[in-house]
């Protein structure tokens, strides 16, 4: 009797591996496409990018100009 290297179990295992691979690749593609869409939409693109964010800096009351006293 010849030994069969490919058992039915291997087929099922393979379908699981291939399926998971496809799902993972699909997920990566999805997140990438989502990123492109979100960036294109702009909207709330404000991050800590080494620039002072006006919305977060404390409000500074304008100082009244000092009147020069004329002599």
């Amino acid at each position: 009797m010849a030994l069969r290297t490919e058992h039915e179990i291997h087929g099922r295992r393979k379908s699981r591996n291939v399926g998971l691979g496809v799902v993972l690749i699909g997920f990566v593609a999805l997140v990438f496409a989502l990123t492109v869409v979100k960036v294109q939409q702009g909207g709330l693109l404000e991050a800590y990018d080494h620039q002072p964010r006006v919305s977060m800096t404390p409000i500074v009351e304008p100082v009244a100009p000092v009147q020069e006293v004329q002599q």
Binding site: R13, S15, L34, V37
Partner: protein
Amino acid sequence: MTDINAYEATPEAEFGDFVALLKPRVMSLVVFTAFVGLFVAPVDVHPFIAFCSVLFIALGGGASGALNMWYDRDIDAIMNRTQTRPIPSGRVDGGAALGLGLVLSVISVMMLGLVANWFAAAFLAFTIFFYAVVYTVWLKRWTPQNIVIGGAAGAFPPMIGWACATGGISIESVLMFALVFFWTPPHFWALALFMKEDYHKAGVPMLTVTHGRQVARRHIFAYTLVLAPFALWLGLTSVGGPLYMAVAVVLNAAFIRGGWQILRRAEETAIADGYAVEKRVFKLSLYYLFLHFLALLVQSWIGGW
């Protein structure tokens, strides 16, 4: 002495078995109603964002299905209809189903929050909790009203879809919820009348067994009456219109008539003709829900009132 050993059959699942854990047929209802809820909302959503939103709502629904199959593995093994499910048939290990359900729950909720908004994500998390814990663990084996309250889990998707677009709840989304919620009991009890499943053997209280089939018939008719005003009310809101109203009037009249026929039938008559009316009303209930949501979709496309 022999050297031959029989190993315990290790579950060697194929990919399709894990897909089956997510209850694809239930998922199709979730996908359709969530999509309609999102599409008819008054806020424009980027098509890809809409696609991803519906995808992760469906994935969350699938995750709750896997959790349901994990918890119900003992009664699934007893009932004929569910014996071929992945866990009772031995193809998937119970722990694997639990893990899949939990992981997919977290992924779907987090992704929906990132894709749409965190209100919709919290809503999805609540729905998963409601189906997996409130319905499956608590209500299903405790009260014959299980499917009434459990039906809420199936009714949330259009509200989540609406929340993805608008970030909130409004009368339209609540009425879409009511449409699915009050539709569920007559739909399932009509099925229970002719499917005569071995629920009682598995210890699941079904109204047809605990209170008798005549009570179930009365309940079916009562729910078709309760359902109709909500279906028509939805037509008077911003998502309604002449087309939806026409569809709703016809379908609700037909559904109430079907409920009335079920009520008037004696069990002997039903047995004699092989539950012809019950089967017809069950089929009608499928069209009922599908056509209502399809009408909403078309109405939103052509413009409402």
